[in-house]
């Protein structure tokens, strides 16, 4: 178990953390026909939206209650009502997910209470599901906001339901890309099980060209499917952050399985064992083949990854998934996470700093790191330390296809190992005499360049 280090400093240099409301908005975007709504000043929304646009390369229908100097002081209940009204008019969403911001939470408004009152009054809003999650910016980060949103959805929309054989709930963590979700769903289906995925970014933010313009999410979990989740035979929650949501479903009678990671041979083996148990089905040949391929990739990649000093900066669940995979290949980790908690402590390193990229830069330099694994904001640090930089997490704004990177399951793990090994190989070290303290060869022996005597 890693020791968590909280640096004693007032200044945060180069934030690693992304705000909780953004995480909530991202989760909401995995619901069909959704518009996430920030309860706060419009700037919060603008920054979060630009952030997500740069990452997903998609229009993001994030909206704001646009608190102003008056509502900042007097409270913003009316702003929410007006916002819902306007959103319904403009885009006819099936779902509006509200995330609060620091501004609102600092005032300590009872937003949830006001919202309940308003919704019971505004029966004309009935065909739009409205959900509220308290996600002050000053508590937790991306994974926390995402988890709070999923919990809010379960609270509001999961209702008691008759058992549905073969149906399982899949609660992907914030650290999973649309491609990760798709890969995992495919694995579950390969065992004859039918996953209800909450939220499902693989249907909304996978990057596809639709045939029309809509002011809400382009796909995602159907509300009608959420209503059946209490009938599932099990819940698979991916990542420690998703434990509370899984426990809420357990309270509705669905056994919870929290899978800390689905990256790395041992982790995926664990998941496959679970799926074997849940389904009673035989393991498909393609899954067996994928495992044999991963095993072979491990053999190939361990020459680069074994002993590799990796500087890892990530939210806890992502840090655990990727860090444990690399450590199992013999890598040595220097770790910074954004928040503490069980996943952070489980990362295989002596210590884990709860901090920012400034902390990671200092620690990486001290440890002699040879590879950087963090989101795109690490690029300046990578340049300063001359490190190959594998981008993981949110945001990835300086590369394309972040939504399509899969590091999950046997296949995703294989791709991840190749990716890391290739990043190492792309920074080859050409040895020179100086590296060994050897004097240069006398220039006496050099061929004196000349134009050849004949042509």
């Amino acid at each position: 178990m890693a020791r968590l280090i909280h640096p004693d400093r007032a200044l945060s240099t180069n934030p690693l953390k992304v705000s909780a409301p953004l995480g909530a908005a991202m989760a909401y975007l995995g619901i069909e026909g959704a518009i996430p709504l920030f309860h706060g000043a419009q700037g919060c929304t603008a920054f979060a939206m630009v952030h997500m646009v740069r990452h997903f390369k998609e229009a993001i229908p994030l909206q704001t209650t646009a608190m102003n100097e008056v509502s900042a002081i007097l409270g913003g209940g009316e702003q929410i009502e007006e916002a819902i009204e306007n959103l319904r008019k403009r885009a006819n969403p099936k779902f509006i997910g509200i995330a609060s911001t620091a501004l609102v939470e600092t005032r300590g408004e009872d937003v949830a209470g006001e919202l309940r009152e308003m919704l019971s009054r505004r029966t004309d809003f009935a065909d739009t599901a409205v959900v509220y999650a308290a996600t002050p910016d000053f508590v937790g980060g991306l994974e926390d906001g995402w988890a709070r949103a999923v919990e809010a959805i379960v609270d509001a929309l999961a209702v008691p339901c008759a058992r549905r054989e073969g149906q399982v709930n899949l609660l992907p963590g914030a650290h999973m890309t649309p491609a990760d979700v798709e890969e995992l769903a495919g694995l579950i289906r390969a065992f004859g099980l039918d996953p209800v995925i909450l939220p499902d970014l693989s249907l909304s933010l996978d990057g596809h060209l639709a045939d029309d313009w809509r002011g809400h999410s382009l796909g995602g979990t159907r509300l009608s499917d959420i209503a059946t989740m209490a009938g599932s035979i099990a819940t698979l929650a991916i990542g420690d952050a998703m434990r509370p949501a899984a426990m809420k479903l357990q309270a509705l009678g669905v056994p919870a399985h929290v899978v800390p990671s689905v990256t790395g041979l041992a982790a995926v083996d664990g998941l496959v064992s679970l799926l074997m148990t849940l389904s009673g089905a035989d393991v498909p040949a393609t899954v067996r083949r994928d495992r044999a391929r991963l095993a072979d990739a491990m053999l190939d990649a361990h020459f680069q990854i074994g002993g590799l000093k990796v500087a890892l900066g990530a939210d806890p669940d992502l840090g655990f998934a990727l860090g444990s995979t690399l450590a199992a290949m013999g890598a040595e980790l220097t770790v910074v996470t954004t928040t503490g908690g069980a996943a952070a402590e489980r990362i295989p390193a002596d210590q884990v700093i709860v901090g920012d990229l400034g902390d990671l830069e200092r620690a990486a330099e001290a440890a002699g790191a040879r590879l950087l694994l963090t989101h795109s904001h690490g690029r300046m640090m990578a340049a300063r330390l001359h490190l190959p930089h594998v981008r993981a997490g949110f945001p990835v704004f300086d590369r394309l296809g972040a939504q399509d990177v899969c590091r999950t399951g046997y296949r995703g793990t294989r791709a991840f190992l190749y990716e890391v090994a290739n990043a190492v190989l792309s920074h080859p070290h050409r040895p020179a005499p100086e590296d060994f303290g050897a004097a240069r060869i006398s220039s006496e022996f050099d061929h004196a360049a000349s134009s050849p005597s004949h042509h």
């Binding site: 400093r9 007032a10 200044l11 945060s12 240099t13 180069n14 934030p15 953390k17 992304v18 705000s19 909780a20 953004l22 706060g40 000043a41 419009q42 700037g43 919060c44 929304t45 603008a46 920054f47 979060a48 630009v50 952030h51 646009v53 740069r54 390369k57 998609e58 229009a59 909206q63 704001t64 209650t65 646009a66 102003n68 100097e69 900042a72 002081i73 702003q79 007006e82 916002a83 819902i84 009204e85 306007n86 959103l87 403009r90 911001t101 620091a102 501004l103 600092t106 005032r107 002050p136 910016d137 000053f138 508590v139 980060g141 060209l209 639709a210 313009w213 904001h377 300046m380 704004f397």
Partner: protein, 487 residues
């Protein structure tokens, strides 16, 4: 909100130099120019964002955001203002206030410590401290903290009080600039002030656009002494009061600082643009004329004309082979006020047809200029909702959209080329050289064979219906309450 801040905002709204405001009747003028935002239909940044846009380009300053994580954790490292010197401005500094900090009322103490730490860690020319919603709400007195820190640490520490809820990005631009006037301008003196020293305000040096202009100034012997622009050093802000003329590149937001430089230090200013051949030439002419008026050697005018003749000839020669590739293409232009007429005129020089241009944030003066250039106002519109714009583009009523990043996907998803003319763009389009780059970009984008492939039906679809593009009066497109601003 502190009284001081209220007063500051009120003042910002009552800018006599602001053409928009000046054009309003007396009663309206008092309300200021801040639009009331519509919940659920708002877009764009807040005052804090605006202040950062204005000031972050000052490269050797540590910009410290006193706020919980979100303001800067979600916002740093997202713009392309280029530096030829320090990279300090690209680092993200914040006090990252936690729940505990807020509950315990530790805000001011933490800020003071953070200032000490950033000076020790980075040795900045100065520290700028930005207060945002939460720190304003809990009443942190950043002015006092900055003052104490500056005294204690012997380094300029400048408070920039811009809680997001006070207003828009535009207001933030103004408040940021005001902070410079209040605390920085006039605090340092140049070694050798010259008769051809200028200030440049409001050019963010995106992808190096200022450096496309600078060689022209270099050749004329004009020095950028003072700067509230990209690639500025703190000292250049501090020395603005010694320039002879101020050029204001993006008029609306920064007009107050230009006017105050005039009022306080007698430095005349003009508004100009470096987009397009004729605007670039006009800006150079005006600049030289004003410098000569203020005592620069009169031969500057001749040298300016020679330069312009030379550059225009070279540019037109470079454009000649490109012109056939873009001529007659239909552009929909969706950008901010000032930029509008400048870009319209540049495009018309190329034989590109402007089928529509937004007049958001445009003054009546801007509007008149566009009418003058385009002949009438049938192609002018206010805001356009993304859905409408998508429909218009999907129906092929324009060949290309030129806009800021926010409407990028409206064009792309409609399978229509898009040219970035705003601050996220990766290519510099300023001055004569930039004009050639812009046309190359338009050519490359519009003539990419990809568009035809993308518009072709999938194998399982019938042939695409041949929809002839119906003409449309854009001025008749209903404006949306939503503000899809870009600048």
């Amino acid at each position: 909100m502190s009284d001081a801040l209220k007063q500051k905002i009120q003042n910002a709204f009552q800018e006599p130099g602001c053409a928009t405001n000046a054009a309003k009747p007396e009663a309206e003028r008092k309300k200021g120019c801040a639009k009331q935002l519509t919940p659920g239909a708002a877009a764009g940044g807040c005052a804090f964002d605006g202040a950062m846009i204005a000031l972050q380009p000052i490269t050797d300053v540590a910009h410290v955001v006193h706020a919980p994580l979100a303001c800067w954790g979600n916002g740093w490292d997202n713009r392309g203002s280029a530096s030829s010197g320090s990279e300090l401005y690209r680092k993200g500094f914040t006090t990252d206030l936690t729940e505990l900090d807020i509950v315990m009322g530790n805000g001011e103490k933490k800020l003071y410590r953070a200032i000490r730490e950033v000076i020790a860690q980075e040795d900045p020319a100065a520290v700028f401290v930005y207060a945002t919603c939460v720190t304003a709400l809990i009443g942190d007195d950043i002015g006092a903290v900055c003052k104490a820190a500056a005294e204690r640490f012997g380094r300029p520490v400048i408070p920039v009080n811009v809680p997001g809820y006070v207003g828009s990005k535009n207001l933030g631009n103004k408040l940021g600039a005001e902070a410079m006037l209040d605390h920085v301008v006039g605090t340092m003196e140049p070694a050798e002030p010259g008769l051809t020293d200028i200030n440049i305000i409001g050019d963010f040096n995106l992808s190096g656009e200022l450096w496309q202009i600078k060689p022209l100034l270099d050749r004329l012997g004009i020095r950028i002494l003072g700067s509230l622009s990209g690639d500025a050093r703190y000292a250049q802000v501090a020395m603005m009061h010694r320039a002879r003329v101020t050029m204001l590149v993006c008029s609306h937001a920064f007009i107050a600082i230009a006017r105050k430089l005039q009022d306080r230090y007698g430095i005349p200013y003009f508004e100009g643009s470096f987009y397009g051949i004729s605007d670039t030439s006009a800006a150079l002419r005006t600049m030289c004329a004003m410098l000569v008026d203020r005592g620069a050697p009169p031969d500057l005018l001749d040298r300016c004309e020679a330069l312009i003749a030379d550059e225009e000839a070279r540019t037109r020669a470079a454009l000649a082979p490109l012109r056939p590739k873009v001529q007659g293409r239909r552009v929909l232009l969706y950008t901010g006020g000032h930029k509008t007429w400048s870009v319209v005129s540049a495009l018309q020089e190329l034989g590109v047809e402007v089928v529509g241009t937004s007049m958001r944030k445009a003054t009546d003066g801007d509007r008149d200029r566009v009418v003058e250039i385009m002949g009438d106002d049938t192609h002018m519109f206010e805001n356009m909702a993304p859905k409408e714009m998508y429909r218009m583009l999907r129906e092929a009523r324009a060949d290309v959209l030129m806009s800021g990043g926010r409407s990028q996907f409206v064009a792309l998803k409609a399978r229509v080329p898009w040219i970035d003319v705003n601050q996220e763009k990766h290519e510099p389009y300023a001055g004569y050289a930039g004009m050639v780059e812009l046309v190359r970009a338009i050519d490359r984008e519009m003539n990419n064979p990809m568009w035809a492939e993308l518009r072709a039906p999938a194998p399982w679809e019938g042939l695409a219906p041949d929809t002839p593009a119906a003409p449309v009066l854009l001025s008749a497109v209903p404006g949306s309450k939503a503000d899809f601003e870009d600048c």
